[in-house]
Amino acid sequence: MSQTIQFNLNGKAVFLKTDPMRRLLDVLRDDFSETGVKEGCGEGECGACSVFLNGKLVNSCLVAVGSITGMNVETIVHFQHTQAYRIIEQAFSDAGSVQCGFCTPGMVLAAYALLKENPDPDETDIREAISGNLCRCTGYNMIVDGIKLAAKKGDGKW
């Protein structure tokens, strides 16, 4: 059952005729080549498919594209051109937060979602904020350190 759906992707209005039940994750990857959005589990457990939907962090594997008419979707593809991204990327580099990288775009977005709300998070805030993002490589502490460093470097300017 195809339907025309309109939403804003990374600041641009997009239209597509598709099954409204398709996962936003598939639409982003297949129809818009947004391959920075990853599929780790397909069941809302890993956070690899994270995107911002109207500014809120969501797992795009759990969102039906039919439900986002008129909404704003921002992905890592767009976010990487912001000043906030550059601060987080550098902090992740300095702290050794990246290994295989499959979880990293999701972690970066989760870090930003936290810092925007709470520019001076403590250790517990950080762990809570990324608890929906699984990482099998790092043991998390070096990601936590990366976010602490980003908080310091960003100095509230999120």
Binding site: R29, K38, Q80, V98, C100, I130, C137, G139
Partner: protein
Amino acid sequence: MKNSISTPVDRLDGPEKASGRAIYTDDIRPDGLLYARTLRADRPRARILHIRLPDIPVGYFIVDKNDVPGHNRIKMLEDDWPFFAEEVINHVGEPILLVVGPDREKVNVILHGIKVEYEDLPAVLSIKDAIAAKNPIFGDDNCFASYQFQKGDPDPVFTDAKTIIKGEFKTGYHEQAYMEPQGVIGNYVNGKLTVTGSMQCPYYVKNAMVQLTGFPENQVQIIQATTGGAFGGKEEYPSLLAGHVAIAAIKTGKPVKLVLERGEDLAVTTKRHPSISRYRSAVDENGRVIAMEADITLDGGAYAGLSAVVLQRALFAAIGVYDIPNVTVRGRVLSTNQVPSGAFRGFGAPQAFFAVEMHMEQIASELGMNPLTFKEIHLVKQGDTTATGGLLRDEIKIREMLSRVLKMSDYRKKEGIFASGNGRFRSGIGLGLYLHGCGFTGKGEDTIHGTATIRKLTEDRAEILVSNVEMGQGAQTTLRKIVATTLGLPIQNIDYPNPDTDRVPDSGPTVASRTVIIVGHLLESAAKELKARWNENETFSVSKSYRHPSYIKWNQDTLQGDAYPAYSWGVVAVEVQVDTLTYETTIKKVWTVHDVGVAIDEDIIRGQVEGGILQGLGYASIEVMDTANGAYRQHNFTDYIIPTAVDAPVIESELVDNPYEYGPFGAKCAGELPIAGAAPAYAAAVSRALGIPVHEIPVKPEALIKGLKE
């Protein structure tokens, strides 16, 4: 003295991964791409009587055993594992055929329209069944491999001993849970087969494709795509998936992609072997273990795979880091109708370390001795021999490392305080002491003779040509740093593209923690030579092939001698708190010290240490994976629970320098090492918190309740 090479640099692959620009297998979308999905057996053992297909629309294909031009067996130790099922299926999830076509939804519809008629056969579903089976499913005893070896003369010691202490220890399945599910893409153009995918061992895949297709070697090309974690899970399994897309690409003449969904990946790929270990020790009047017997049994699943070598590594680790004069070690890996078990970080050693560490705890507690003191008096020292009679010829710093961990964790004080705890929340602290034999087990390195090449590209640029892959562990940074430092060039001027078998020599697989100590060593010596000859030509290559140092002696028939050229070492302390109302266990903190020779990059090593320890803690605690009628009962990360950032403890981690003569800049091995000690340290901590023995991981609340009742 810290070696200057150890100072961390920024990972070169960091920015493209963080920004999502890195291209993993599923991100590759060539024109005309077809998608494959697999029809799998839904039962553990049966004869296929009939397969009923729905109408197959134009442009869609069925691919199965009849399409195989060469040999329908994955090239491994035994030729027993088929790419596509033949008459009989031997495990749940065994691939029968592929449905291939341009639209994934339509492929799914066709897949669900296929009906298979089976005749069920009696299945062997546990180690116990495999031992008892009257009609074996493999050979005449269900044994994929069995080994036995001895040190000293244990039999008379056991006969005369006054005190003999016995224990049985069990470990469960363990899932690698790399975040990127397995995936491959096959292409067949002008008679040439190319497979691109997420993998650790491009040449394993290449050799498997040559046997599968019967093509000459120069018509098979394997390219590694950026790999989102592997942990051993992408050692042998990608060969099977590669075979599927290869046959599909040859049949359809189009590129074919096969990416597993998470649930499928969990259900059918190889896991860590479950184990049952029986130990027996003879102890003299001074509390010294004078003889030890270890008997380790692994569940290999339906096909032999790499199980024989996994068992060897388990057996060679069976007496841990202890100096025991008389030893018998035996073990076997059994065939069952479970999903095949396989490679996973540690490769048999974690099972053995859990058993031997818990057995040492058990002996100490039965003798009324402090476990720490007891372990301490048995620690090996330089010049001692291993269980296989190999010589520990390099300096051993484990005593210094142990004292450091005791100090960092305030171990003795905590041990005293915790012993008297009796409230609702009980604390405990436990230790794990471990080593890892670097590189292939036994004759492996001498069979493969890995070759590494460096090519001078321009006056200030060189390229690394090896078949070893970056899979998250940091090979991109580590190997480039070795070459850059040796050549005196900036690290950015060293290229190291993902391996493509058309361009790189076979430096061996990315396994066994061999990438730095073996391949890094080859690169270091190639770089030294290249530097000396730098002005000879505008561009040229230097290659080096590996041989063990001449003092390494190994006999594969008797399993006697140096099973490994060198060892890395570790000590870890884990503190836990158990809620005696809910039996929930919280890991409070972890302290650890490792000897990896020299760290090529301290950040990379810290990442390996922390990731490995958390994986080991998961193995010991919350990562429960079990089966019902041959199928795993866990289907996704909703029920196979791996630790999150909230579960992860802070890990205080240090290194000691202990350079190895034949390692690059003195480096030994690091990737697998840290996983070995976390599980026994956790189990010992829980055991002490509650004052009950723990013999099995994962440690489940039910077991604790039962233990306390007894």
